[in-house]
């Protein structure tokens, strides 16, 4: 099964317990690579076991552990990031996403790593004003969301390392969905499992704003394609179809055969609720369900074009209905 050519080639994946990282580790292992999965806890329940994967305990903010993990690796996938909605300490976003990226790249440059794929996000562009965003487009609005701000700053770090001579390809996944654990950043997982269990009751606004949904297996393959075919210093959007909330839930209804009563909640109401949530979290340090900067975003489309990745990398997009079907199957069989 395993192509012999890949044998003994060691690859580091940071963020091995992450939504993308865990699947990436597994795919690389299946291809015959010797995978070193960096994670903060080697007993993490989300880690996928495979005889070609060795999980190593470490932290991208701890230089020594990085050095140890990266030693002997010829390629690095840097998928580790702080992708949460909210952190008790805002500085965590900067530390993990910017300082962490700098540490990884620094280490790769020192160790003479061949190539790095840096996982960024379509959030560096944020909302779409008209046509779907592509790689050369500028960011049209400010950075009220910490995650997007720090991931943008991380891309600037990548650019300085490319100038220093390190080969780095940036990939920008959109809203990633698919088989995997339901975490704070897995918004699709929350919606789908909520719909299945009957605890999800609403559609934001009129349900007509669209977002781009990328199937996790496509994104994983996109990472591997970027490593082999991507041009250093370039960015590649790894997305899927642009789908509005109405279509999202009607597709879900078709797939599951279950019709749920969903209420359309005006964005202004969501905004008011999110402001209260924000005050609550600021005053008492409680985890908020939603924040005003995300409520504002619901007014905009977030449509992205993966054309560059399709043309240059041969990136392939699973139709949304098929991807969602697999996601639903995954949750139903659990």
């Amino acid at each position: 099964m395993e192509p012999v050519t890949h044998k003994y080639l060691k690859i580091l994946v940071t963020g091995a317990s992450g939504f993308i990282g865990r699947k990436l580790c597994y795919s690389l292992a299946e291809m015959g690579f010797e995978v070193i999965g960096l994670c903060r806890n080697v007993d993490h329940p989300f880690l996928l076991q495979h005889r070609n994967i060795q999980y190593v305990e470490g932290d991208i903010l701890d230089q020594q552990s990085l050095d140890a993990a990266m030693s002997g690796c010829y390629q690095v996938y840097h998928t580790a990031a702080m992708a949460k909605l909210w952190c008790r300490n805002e500085q965590d976003f900067f530390d993990t996403n910017v300082t962490g990226t700098k540490n990884v790249l620094n280490c790769a440059l020192r160790m003479g790593v061949d190539r790095v794929v840096h996982t960024s996000t379509c959030g560096v562009w944020g909302p779409t004003l008209n046509l779907p965003v592509s790689e050369d487009d500028p960011r049209a609005v400010g950075f009220p969301i910490d995650y997007e701000r720090t991931k943008y700053l991380a891309e600037l770090e990548v650019k300085t390392f490319v100038k220093k001579g390190l080969e780095v390809v940036i990939v920008n996944p959109s809203r990633v969905y698919g088989e995997g654990p339901i975490t704070d950043s897995n918004t699709v997982g929350k919606m789908v499992s909520g719909y299945l269990s009957g605890t999800w009751h609403f559609i934001p606004g009129k349900g007509i704003t669209a977002a781009n949904y990328a199937y996790v297996e496509d994104v994983v393959q996109g990472h591997i394609l970027a490593m082999t075919k991507g041009r250093s210093g370039e960015r590649y959007i790894l997305g899927g179809e642009d789908i509005c909330f109405n279509r999202f839930f009607s597709t879900l209804e078709q797939i599951t055969g279950t019709k749920r009563k969903l209420y359309r909640i005006p964005i202004e109401l969501i905004k008011t609720f999110s402001i209260m949530e924000s005050i609550k979290s600021k005053c008492f340090g409680f985890q908020p369900y939603f924040l005003p900067e995300f409520a504002d975003r619901l007014k905009f489309n977030q449509r992205y074009s993966s054309q560059k990745a399709v043309t240059e990398l041969n990136y392939q997009i699973t139709p949304f209905k098929i991807g969602l079907q697999k996601t639903v199957d995954h949750f139903q069989n659990k």
Binding site: F94, D136, P138, V141
Partner: protein, 263 residues
């Protein structure tokens, strides 16, 4: 709002980029000016594709002598006419006076002051003053206050304030509207994205996003507002400044200076 064409300086990044996007959304044609190799063509293409407006790019260093004349000459050779001027390009600083070398200040004054004055001069002879035309000068809220570590920047922005107010009087009988934009802090450059985030309390409330500032500014400009101060906290700051006695302000400023010095 028909047939407006805006000349925007410093258009490739920050507030200038937001002005370009805002104007394009309103259907203005654009002439964008920025330094070479700042990705201006990418922005121009984005605006053409998304908003169907005409965009002409000029890559030039505005601190060079005669750049103002060259810009308007280039407009004429390309048979372009503009009727909106947004004097946005500027260099800021956040440093003690002796930390920067003389060349920095020369370029800063050249760009913030000389270039704004001369572009405005050329613009006024380029347009038909009986037709609706607009000038938007980017000043700073800092121009109203004495802010240590912003000595030269603040002074150039005070200059812009004075200059704009005078023009408003001089051009009263024409159809040219001149507006002064006095923004507080804006999240633009990457250093500021880090620095502004570390602010606390009221200072944090004065920081705005560039797209918001641009929207408010263009709206104000179209209405012919004399001075545009985006953001409630910033307007409050200016009102408070006007009503409190000067000795009190001095005490506050000294205390403020102490905290700056202790950093």
């Amino acid at each position: 709002m028909k047939n407006l064409t805006a000349l925007i300086t410093g258009a490739s990044e920050g507030l200038g980029k937001s002005f370009a996007i805002e104007c394009a959304q309103l259907g203005f044609n654009l002439v964008l000016v920025s330094l070479p190799e700042t990705g201006l063509e990418f922005l121009a293409n984005y605006l053409r594709r998304n908003f169907g407006v005409q965009v002409f790019c000029m890559e030039t260093d505005l601190t060079r002598n005669n750049s103002d004349v060259e810009i308007f000459k280039l407009l004429e050779t390309n048979k372009l006419r503009v009727n909106v001027l947004i004097n946005n390009a500027g260099i800021g600083n956040w440093s003690w006076f002796e930390e920067k070398d003389p060349d920095f200040y020369r370029a800063q004054i050249e760009l913030n002051v000389t270039n704004t004055v001369l572009l405005t001069r050329s613009f006024l002879s380029h347009i038909d003053k009986s037709e609706p035309s607009y000038i938007l000068n980017v000043g700073s809220l800092g121009g109203h206050f004495v802010v240590p570590k912003k000595q030269v920047y603040g002074a150039t922005k005070s200059f812009i304030g004075y200059f704009t107010r005078c023009l408003q009087l001089e051009l009263k009988s024409t159809n040219v509207r001149v507006s002064l934009l006095s923004p507080g802090g804006i999240n633009t450059k990457s250093e500021l994205l880090v620095m502004n985030k570390n602010l606390k309390g009221f200072a944090k409330a004065t920081i705005l996003e560039a797209d918001f500032v641009a929207k408010v500014a263009i709206q104000g400009m179209m209405k012919g507002k004399k001075e545009i101060i985006p953001g409630f906290a910033n307007r409050l700051l200016l009102t408070v400044d006007k009503v409190i006695p000067s000795f009190w302000k001095e005490i506050l400023m000294r205390r403020n200076l102490k905290t700056i010095l202790s950093v």
